[in-house]
Amino acid sequence: MAIFKKPALKTESRKKREMPPGLWQKCDGCGEVVHEIELVENDRVCPRCDYHFTQTAKERIAKLCDPDSFVELDAGLTSIDTLKFQGMASYKDRLRKYQDKTGLIDAVLSGHALIEGYKVAIAVMDFSFLAATMGSVVGERITRVIEYGTAHGAAVVIVAASGGARMYEGMLSLMQMAKTSGALALHAEKRLPFISVLTNPTTAGVMASFSSLGDVIIAEPRAMVGFAGPRVIKETTHQDLPERFQTAEFLEEHGLIDLIVHRKQLRMQLAQLLAYFSSTR
C-alpha cells in the first residue's frame, strides 16, 4: 500500500511561501504557485506547464459524463475492519479520518452514465481517500460495475489512480485483483469494450489487475504508472533508474499503453473510441 508517494517532479527548491490553505497550490510540474480558481477553471491542469493535478472522482465524473447522466450504483458499500488491524493507528480510525476529510465512503465512485450519448458503466477512483488503495469495497464496486456492463451490454470505463492493495484488509484486498480481472474476462466474452484510463499515480495491485486489461489504455500526461515502487526497485537492484522511469511517456515509448491524452481532450477521445466499438448508439 502507498508504496508510491505522489511523484514530485523536482524543480529547484524554493522557500515555502505562506499560503492560505486551499487557495494556492504549488505546481509539482513547474514549481509555480497556482490559484485554486485558476485550477478549477482549467480542469485542475496547471495553466503554465500543463501539469495535471489530482482531480477528485466527483470532478472527473462531472467533466467526463453528459450532464446529469451519471447514476451512482452501490453507493452504500462500506469497509469493514475484518482483521482488526492495529498499527500506529487502527484501520477503523483511518477510515473514519478519510471519510471525514473527503466526504467519500471509500476510494471509488461507480455507476452508469452517458458519454456523448454512449452508455457506459463507469468507475472513477479517488486518490485522496487512503491513496485509493483497493480493499473489498473498491474491488466489489469495480466488479459490480463491470458486471453491470456485461449484463446491460455497456462499455466499461475505469479511471484509475491507486497506491495498490489495501494492506489493512490483508489477503482479502489482494483477492480483489482476481475478482475484477475475472469480471473483465466475462465482459470481454460478450465482446464489449473496456477502456482503461491511468491517472497519477496508478500502481501495484491495481496496475497488475484491471487497469492493465483495457482494450485501449489511455494515460494522462506525466502520470506515474508502474508496478513496484521506485524506492524498492532502487534498493533491490542498486541501479540508477532511467529518466522519466514509470511515467506515462516512458510506458508509451516502451509500447505498453495506447495513448497519452490531455485531460481536456479525454471526454472526446473516449467518445470517439466508444463510437468505434459500439454496434449501436
Binding site: 500500500m1 502507498a2 508504496i3 450504483l73 452501490d74 453507493a75 452504500g76 458499500l77 462500506t78 469497509s79 469493514i80 475484518t82 482483521l83 492495529q86 498499527g87 500506529m88 473489498s136 469495497v137 466489489e140 466488479t143 453491470y148 492493495a165 494492506m167 484488509e169 490483508g170 489477503m171 482479502l172 489482494l174 483477492m175 480483489q176 485483483m177 482476481a178 475478482k179 480481472s181 475475472g182 469480471a183 474476462a185 466475462l186 466474452e189 501495484a204 495491485g205 496496475m207 497488475a208 489487475s209 484491471f210 487497469s211 492493465s212 486489461l213 508496478f227 513496484a228 515502487g229 524498492v232 526497485i233 533491490t236 537492484t237 533508474l241 522511469f245 514509470q246 516502451h254 505498453l256
Partner: protein, 325 residues
C-alpha cells in the same frame, strides 16, 4: 548440509546436544544410560511437538523461507513422473524462477507451472531468488494454453517472495503480465489446482494462483505484503515484522478462515524441511484427490464455480435498501 537453526528451535537443539553428551558419556564409561537416553528422546519429541503446535505467524514465515525447505523442483521430482521442462516465453527469454513443463501426477497427464528458489548463492543468481520477471508469467500462460489445447489440467506450485521489482520488469510490463494471467486463468478451460508450498508473496504469487482449488502447506504463508514491508509502512521500522505477520492473517489456518484457501496440506512434524519425501507424499496425495474431483466436474460448471469462488471474496457492509441498479 546442515541448515541454520531457527531461533525457536534452539530448545530442541539444546536437548539434542545433551542427548549426544549422554550417549558419548555412556560409551566412554560403558555405563548403561538407556533409560536416561530414552526419556531424553521422549523429551525432545515432546518439546518439538509443543513448539510446532504453538507456532506464531512470524515463526511460520521463517519456516516457509527455510533454505532446506523442499522447493518446487523437489516436489516435481517426488510427486510427479515423466517431467519434461519447457523453456521460454517465445518472446523474450526463459525465466529460471518459473520452471514450467509437462508431467504426470499418478495416472493424470498435466502441465506444471511453478516458482523456484535457490539454496545457495549460485542457484539463487540463476533462480533470481524465486522472483519472476514478466517473461516468467508469460511462459506460464503459454504453457497453460498448451494444457488447454491438449486438455491437460494445470498444477501450479507457488513459492515466491514476489514478482521481481526491477527496471526490466517495468520495461517489459510485469503488471500487465500478471493481470493477463488473472483474467485468462479465470476462464481457462481445464482444471487448475494451485498450491502455496512456501512463500505466497502478493501479486507475484497470485499471478499463477487463480484455480479451482487453492491448497496451502501447513507452514506456508500467503500475504498481500511481506511482514517486513508492512512493518516499515505501519510502524516506520522493519523491526515490527513479527507483529505485522500476526496482523496480516497470513497463515494457513487464518487463510482457511478467510476463505482464501480451500485446504491445508499437513507437513511432517518439525516442518517440511525435516522430511522432503514425507512432505511430497502428503502433497502428492492431496493433489491427486483434488484433481480427480475437478476432472469429474463438467468444465462449464467448474468455470462457474471458479468464478464464484473468487467473486465472493471480500468483506464489506451494505445497507439493505436496493439502489437504482
Amino acid at each position: 548440509m546442515d541448515s541454520p537453526p531457527l531461533d525457536f528451535e534452539k530448545p530442541i537443539l539444546e536437548l539434542q546436544r545433551r542427548l549426544q553428551e549422554l550417549k558419548s558419556h555412556s560409551d566412554k564409561h560403558e555405563i548403561d544410560f538407556d533409560s536416561e537416553v530414552e526419556s531424553m528422546e521422549l523429551k525432545i519429541r515432546e518439546t518439538r511437538r509443543q513448539i510446532y503446535e504453538n507456532l506464531t505467524a512470524w515463526q511460520r514465515v521463517q519456516i516457509a523461507r527455510h533454505v532446506r525447505r523442499p522447493f518446487a523442483l523437489d516436489y516435481i521430482a517426488r510427486c510427479f513422473t515423466d517431467w519434461v521442462e519447457l523453456h521460454g516465453d517465445r518472446v523474450f527469454g526463459d525465466d529460471k524462477a518459473m520452471p514450467c513443463g509437462l508431467a504426470k501426477l499418478g495416472p493424470y497427464r498435466c502441465v506444471v507451472i511453478s516458482q523456484q528458489k535457490g539454496r545457495d548463492t549460485k542457484e539463487n543468481v540463476k533462480r533470481n531468488f524465486g522472483c519472476a520477471y514478466p517473461e516468467g508469467y508469460r511462459k506460464a500462460l503459454r504453457v497453460m494454453r498448451l494444457g488447454e489445447k491438449f486438455n491437460l489440467p494445470v498444477m501450479a506450485l507457488i513459492d515466491t517472495p514476489g514478482a521481481y521489482p526491477g527496471i526490466g520488469s517495468e520495461e517489459r510490463h510485469i503488471a500487465e503480465a500478471i493481470a493477463v494471467n488473472l483474467r485468462e486463468m479465470m476462464v481457462l478451460r481445464v482444471p487448475i489446482i494451485a498450491t502455496v508450498i512456501g512463500e505466497g508473496g502478493s501479486g507475484g504469487a497470485l499471478g499463477i494462483g487463480i484455480a479451482d482449488r487453492v491448497l496451502i502447506l501447513e507452514n506456508a504463508y500467503y500475504s498481500v505484503i511481506s511482514p517486513e514491508a508492512c512493518s516499515a509502512i505501519l510502524w516506520k521500522d522493519r523491526k515490527h515484522a513479527p507483529e505485522a505477520a500476526e496482523a496480516l492473517k497470513l497463515t494457513a489456518d487464518d487463510l482457511m478462515r478467510l476463505g482464501v484457501v480451500d485446504e491445508v496440506v499437513s507437513e511432517p512434524e518439525g516442518g517440511a524441511h525435516r522430511d522432503h519425501d514425507l512432505a511430497a507424499a502428503n502433497l502428492g496425495a492431496a493433489l491427486r484427490r483434488n484433481l480427480k474431483r475437478a476432472l469429474e466436474t463438467p468444465i462449464d460448471e467448474l468455470l462457474r464455480e471458479r468464478y464464484a469462488k473468487f467473486r465472493k471474496l471480500g468483506n464489506f457492509a451494505e445497507p439493505k435498501v436496493k439502489n437504482g441498479a
